[in-house]
Every structure is written in structure tokens, then in C-alpha cells.
């Protein structure tokens, strides 16, 4: 059910996640537990196929003791939260000036062509998605992309091919360890 809609009753936060949420809440003074929201949403998104459905957001609101609208407001403001299902491997290319001068546009076109999709589309097998995002802070290592928590820098077409192969073979780590 990689890309299926999450039903409200299916929303279960694992014990590990709940422990992590409690830990994050402990970083903030009493009465200010809402502060943990942004970090918590990252952790929750990682556990829920990289996107946040309404039931999931409602559950986050419940856990943090805030109103659902406060979660929706935050989720829609920040660009790293997905409100729709995404591919398993999302190549987020930085396309701002420095990367653009070093040829990221060619690389994006190449990747789209290779995967047979347009920008922001998910491949039919649900594996890949190509996105253009704004500056990721790796201007000196351009062109680059973000995949999960990690950056892949100084990209070339050959490196891109290898990365796609590695993803298919399940050899690419997406999450940094807690």
C-alpha cells in the first residue's frame, strides 16, 4: 500500500516514533510543546510513506495537544512536507542560480527522459519522481540533488545513471540515523 490513501483508523504511530515525539517535546518548556511540531512532522512523514494525510496530521495535533488547523497551517507553509503521495525515491534537484550555471537543467531533462516522466510526475511503478526545488545550500558542489535526508553532489549523467541503478537495487539509504 505504498501510495494508497491512509485511512483514519490505520493511523498508528509506532512505539519508537511515540518515544521520539516525547523526547522532542521534552526539549521545550511546559506550555510550549507546540514548538516540537516541525521536527515531529518530519519524523512522522518519514514513517508514513513520505507524506502527510489528513488523518495523520490530525493525529499529530492530538499528540501535541493542538488544533488540527494549526498543523495544516504549518504543513502547507513549509515546502518539505508532502500533502500528496510521492514516489519512493524523489530526486529533488536544486535549480537555483549556482546549480543552474553548472548545468542542472540539462541533468533534470536527462533524468526525466531516462525515467520517462515529466517534472513532478511519479513513474508508473511508484519508484521515482523528479522535482525541481530551490536552493539547497550546496552551491559549491553543483549540480546536486537531495534524496531523502542526503545530498548527492557534483552530479554527472554517469553518476545519475549509477544512482538510479542503486535505487532500483535498494542500495540507497534515504534516512539519516537518529
Amino acid at each position: 500500500m505504498a501510495l494508497a490513501e491512509v485511512k483514519p483508523e490505520q493511523v498508528v504511530f509506532s512505539e519508537k516514533l511515540m518515544k521520539r515525539i516525547e523526547e522532542l517535546k521534552s526539549h521545550f518548556p511546559d506550555g510550549k510543546k507546540k514548538s516540537a511540531l516541525i521536527t515531529v512532522l518530519h519524523e512522522v512523514q518519514d514513517e508514513h510513506q513520505d507524506w502527510l494525510s489528513v488523518p495523520v496530521m490530525d493525529k499529530v495535533a492530538e499528540v501535541l495537544g493542538i488544533k488540527p488547523i494549526e498543523v495544516y497551517e504549518v504543513v502547507t507553509f513549509y515546502s518539505m512536507y508532502n500533502q500528496k503521495p510521492v514516489g519512493k525515491y524523489v530526486f529533488e534537484f536544486c535549480r537555483t542560480s549556482c546549480c543552474a550555471t553548472r548545468g542542472v537543467e540539462d541533468l533534470m531533462e536527462y533524468t526525466c527522459q531516462k525515467l520517462g516522466v515529466g517534472m513532478n510526475e511519479v513513474t508508473p511503478d511508484g519508484m521515482f519522481q523528479v522535482k525541481g526545488v530551490e536552493c539547497l545550500g550546496a552551491c559549491g558542489y553543483a549540480p546536486m540533488l537531495q534524496l531523502g535526508d542526503f545530498y548527492h553532489e557534483f552530479l554527472t549523467k554517469e553518476k545519475m545513471d549509477a544512482l538510479i541503478e542503486d535505487c532500483r537495487a535498494g542500495k540507497v539509504e534515504k534516512l539519516s540515523k537518529v
Binding site: 489528513v54 488544533k67 488540527p68 488547523i69 494549526e70 495544516y72 497551517e73 502547507t76 507553509f77 515546502s79
Partner: protein, 341 residues
């Protein structure tokens, strides 16, 4: 008390007063317009930027002018401050710019908008807008969402003043709507279609400076300038509502009920939804008399309340004072008695 001079007019106000409120105490044409500031909503203001003014002298202690224009609604005055609003070319120029920004994505659907005639953006466009637009691209549109059977949300018209979110935060038990997304995609929404349903939600309609939130029970019923507003009241059982409203009538029929508004289009006291939506019957209200409107308001065009120069006719008073016999003979009725009748 600190003294501030706005467009050459000086006034002493309490420390901590904002420039806008000081200007309102003076009154008249020098008051900067405000689209997002609302004196009765804490935290509002600073967003629309139409109230920008030039501070040509910071204060007595530091007479340097401020390099940037300041939002008058959230800049506190300092003793000896000199402010230029209507007298500053720069301010007028920038205000035109801001109004242009507000209008580029506005649908300009005034002919079918219920707010037309009492819309702050219309007024602003009248004062500062250009005849033509320099914006060639398509205007921004949003998907419609339904927020219940009482309030109509037209996101395309919204200028994002955030007032309605403050109403929900400060007057109602909980807020179900908010500002979603970011940048020029920002919208007022409940995210999932969801009725905003609480006793005071109707006040969002009154605080909305444009036609983004309108009264569904009044939708397309009449143009506001065909109606006559009257001050009216009723005994309201809601603890936070004093039942003092304006009823908007056509003939003897009440078309809509709104809160009473002051010179700056701010409500005098917030009213409950029951008063607003559920009492359209004449018998429910005690009518106090017609409401005053600004002379230039389009709603005055009904001409029913045109104020003429006051002429004192003292004949009766002067000639017949104390002469009841004569009065009877002339079949004239004393003014006091006429009132009683």
C-alpha cells in the same frame, strides 16, 4: 503627554499610541487608510502596507528622519515626531504602488460582489488606483471551498488581512480556519471542507475589508445602496452580545443585519450569529433611527438622508412664547407636545 505632528496638525496623545490612532484622534483627510489593522483585534496590522507614512522627524531626542516609510498602524509615536501622510509625495506614490499590488490579482467582480458599495478596497481604488492595469498575466484563482451555510468565502477577492483569523482566535472558542500555503498561493481555508460553526463566526463578515467573506443569507438579495440602514436593538440572550445592530431595510423588510460600524468601518461591538442571521423579522427589533453614513458613501445615494443646512425658524418661539391662549387660537401645537403625540 508626547506630542506628534501629522501633516502639520499637532496633537498630544498618550505614550504608546500608534501613529494611525493619533491620526484618527485628529480625524479628517489626514488619517491613513487601513486594510488590515483593526483596533479591536489584538495583533492585527502591519500587513497590507497601505498605511505607510513618512516620518520626517523621528522625535525630539533623535530628530533624524526614518529612512524607510513606516506602517502607521504599528509604529508608536515619540515625543516631537513629525509625520507626513497626505503631504508626502513619496507616501502617495508608494500607496499607489501598494494599491496596484492589491489589485493585480483581485478579480474586480464588483458588479456581482455583495460588498460593493461598502468595500474598503473599492474606496482605496477610487483614491489611489490607476485607470488601467499594467498586469498582463492571468489573475490568480483558488478552488472554492464551502465553509458552512451562513458565510460565503470568495478566496479570489481576499487581500489576506488576517482579520478573520484574529476574530476566530479572539472571539470564538476555537479557530477552524487559517491561512494556508505560502506566498501568493496563501489562502484562507479550513483545509478540508469544514463548516465554521460557532456563535460569533458571523463577525468575520463584518471585519472583512473586501468581499471575501459575505453573508450567505443576504447573498445576491440587493445592492447595499438600495437599502436603508437603521440603528436597531433587541434583547439578546447571548452573554457577549448586546443586541445593538444595524438593520438594512428595503421598505419594511429587513434584508440583513450587521454590527454597527464607526467612521473607520470598524464594528462598535461584535454581535452574535443569532442576531445576525436569525432575526429578519421587523417585530424582533426596536428601530432607533437611521444610521449616519459618510457624506460621500455610495449608500447615501438613496438621498433619503440628505442633510440640508440647518435653518432655525424661531417665529413660534419668539412670538408665541408663553401665550397659550394665542397658541390655541392659532391651532398651533407646541413642539414638545407634538413629540408626545
Amino acid at each position: 503627554m508626547p506630542k506628534v505632528t501629522i501633516d502639520g496638525v499637532s496633537i498630544e496623545v498618550e505614550a504608546g499610541t500608534t501613529i494611525l490612532n493619533a491620526a484618527r484622534q485628529i480625524g479628517g483627510d489626514l488619517v491613513p487608510p487601513a486594510m488590515c489593522y483593526y483596533s479591536k483585534l489584538k495583533g492585527s496590522g502591519g500587513k497590507c502596507r497601505v498605511c505607510l507614512v513618512e516620518i520626517s522627524k523621528g522625535s525630539e531626542a533623535n530628530p533624524n528622519p526614518m529612512p524607510k516609510l513606516q506602517a502607521s498602524c504599528c509604529t508608536p509615536i515619540a515625543d516631537g515626531m513629525e509625520v507626513k501622510n497626505m503631504t508626502s509625495q513619496k507616501v502617495q506614490d508608494m500607496r499607489k504602488g501598494v494599491v496596484e499590488f492589491l489589485l493585480i490579482n483581485h478579480p474586480l467582480d464588483c458588479p456581482i460582489c455583495d460588498q460593493a458599495g461598502e468595500c474598503d478596497l473599492q474606496n482605496l481604488g477610487f483614491d489611489y488606483g490607476a485607470q488601467t492595469t499594467r498586469y498582463q498575466e492571468g489573475r490568480r484563482t483558488f478552488d472554492r471551498i464551502d465553509i458552512g451555510d451562513k458565510i460565503q468565502l470568495h478566496m479570489n477577492r481576499c487581500i489576506l488581512c488576517y482579520r478573520c483569523t484574529y476574530v476566530a482566535d479572539q472571539l470564538t472558542p476555537h479557530r477552524d480556519h487559517g491561512v494556508l500555503n505560502r506566498g501568493d498561493a496563501s489562502e484562507i481555508s479550513t483545509y478540508i471542507s469544514h463548516a465554521i460553526d460557532n456563535d460569533f463566526s458571523g463577525n468575520m463578515i463584518d471585519v472583512c475589508p473586501v468581499g471575501a467573506l459575505t453573508d450567505k443569507t443576504f447573498r445576491f438579495k440587493s445592492r447595499v445602496w438600495f437599502l436603508k440602514p437603521y440603528r436597531a436593538h433587541r434583547q439578546c440572550s447571548h452573554e457577549k452580545c448586546n443586541g445593538q445592530v444595524d438593520v438594512w431595510m428595503f421598505g419594511n423588510e429587513i434584508y440583513r443585519v450587521t454590527a454597527r460600524k464607526d467612521d473607520y468601518h470598524e464594528v462598535e461591538s461584535f454581535i452574535c450569529n443569532e442576531c445576525r442571521f436569525d432575526h429578519k423579522n421587523n417585530a424582533d427589533w426596536t428601530i432607533e433611527g437611521p444610521r449616519k453614513l459618510e457624506k460621500w458613501s455610495v449608500i447615501n445615494q438613496g438621498k433619503y438622508m440628505k442633510r440640508t443646512a440647518e435653518v432655525n425658524i424661531d417665529t413660534e418661539k419668539a412670538l408665541l412664547l408663553g401665550r397659550n391662549e394665542d397658541r390655541k387660537r392659532l391651532s398651533m401645537v407646541a413642539p414638545e407636545e407634538a413629540k408626545k403625540k
